[in-house]
């Protein structure tokens, strides 16, 4: 298998482990949302969603095994999005 040009094949057990982790994180995000933590609630929700996203991107979408070019592109896309979000809130919050 490993002599294949593209190399890596994800094992079934790895995939199932990632899936279980995603289910646990989903239960966690529901549990946290039932607590009244004020402004922390929304940040906890976004934080857990980011962890879930990282798991999906790294394993299910194979990013962990892609070369640096792919990661560089992903970084540019994320920085662009975060810049948009940042500039929007800079305007909205201090208007």
């Amino acid at each position: 298998m490993s002599e294949h040009g593209e190399g890596h094949i994800l094992g079934y057990s790895t995939l199932v482990t990632v899936w279980l982790a995603l289910l646990v994180l989903t239960a966690l995000t529901v549990a946290v949302s039932r607590l009244d933590l004020g402004a922390v609630n929304i940040w906890a929700a976004i934080g857990i969603a980011c962890v879930k996203t990282s798991l999906v991107v790294a394993f299910f979408m194979h990013m962990k095994y892609e070369n640096r070019l792919f990661r560089g592109f992903l970084l540019i896309a994320l920085v662009t999005l975060i810049t948009f979000i940042g500039l929007t809130f800079f305007d909205v919050l201090y208007r």
Binding site: G5, L15, V18, W19, N41, A45, I46, M61, L81
Partner: protein, 201 residues
């Protein structure tokens, strides 16, 4: 499995798919920015709106999509290992999950519309301004996401036909990989929609 079989540019094909996914990210990113701005302006109304969404529908659909992400990833591993039967089975489960998601969405939207909550409805106009903004964003975001689910189901059906007739196989599977990437993106967007719309308290 060697260079002779590989006359496709795998890296190029996948990079192209990722570039497309980035445009999708920015599309939905815009909707999430709108959500953030209006949450900041109408925090109480958004909580009122979120309270009216059914966590069971949202949570159930989260589990459906996460599981379908697992099955599509498994179908790729299966084909890479030469197990065509398992690959087709897993693709079938993924497509069934997509349809189940849409069925849930149908019941959820039907219930909301039955309560007079739909874009432009008289009931929505009587609500607080922030609440009608919440439901407007809810419909456009979940609606656009729903269209992606529908398209994803179509793409996965097409790819499973290609696997069935051998055009996509153990030595040439980039089409399946790219279809899988698209499906995972659909899952990723829902990972954010679920807590932001259904769990806000």
């Amino acid at each position: 499995m060697n260079e002779a079989v590989h006359h496709k540019d795998y890296q190029g094909a996948k990079l192209g798919m990722w570039l497309f996914l980035f445009t999708e990210l920015l599309l939905f990113g815009g909707l999430f920015i709108l959500y953030g701005v209006y949450l900041n302006r109408y925090p109480e109304e958004f909580v009122e709106g979120g309270d009216q969404l059914n966590v069971l529908f949202g949570g159930g659909n989260t589990v459906v999509l996460l599981t379908s992400s697992l099955t599509v990833a498994t179908s790729i591993s299966a084909l890479q290992k030469g197990n065509r039967k398992l690959c087709l089975g897993m693709l079938g489960v993924t497509i069934a999950a997509a349809l189940l998601f849409l069925l849930n969405k149908f019941f959820e939207w039907s219930a909301k519309i039955g309560h007079g909550i739909y874009p432009g409805s008289p009931h929505l106009k009587e609500m607080a301004h922030g609440e009608s903004v919440f439901f407007g964003l809810y419909y456009i975001t979940t609606g656009l996401h729903g269209i992606h689910v529908l398209l994803g189901a179509g793409i996965l059906t097409w790819v499973s036909l290609l696997v069935r007739n051998g055009k996509v196989n153990q030595g040439d599977f980039v089409t399946l990989e790219n279809a899988g990437l698209y499906w995972h993106l659909v899952d990723l967007i829902w990972i954010f929609i679920f807590p932001l719309y259904y769990l806000i308290l």
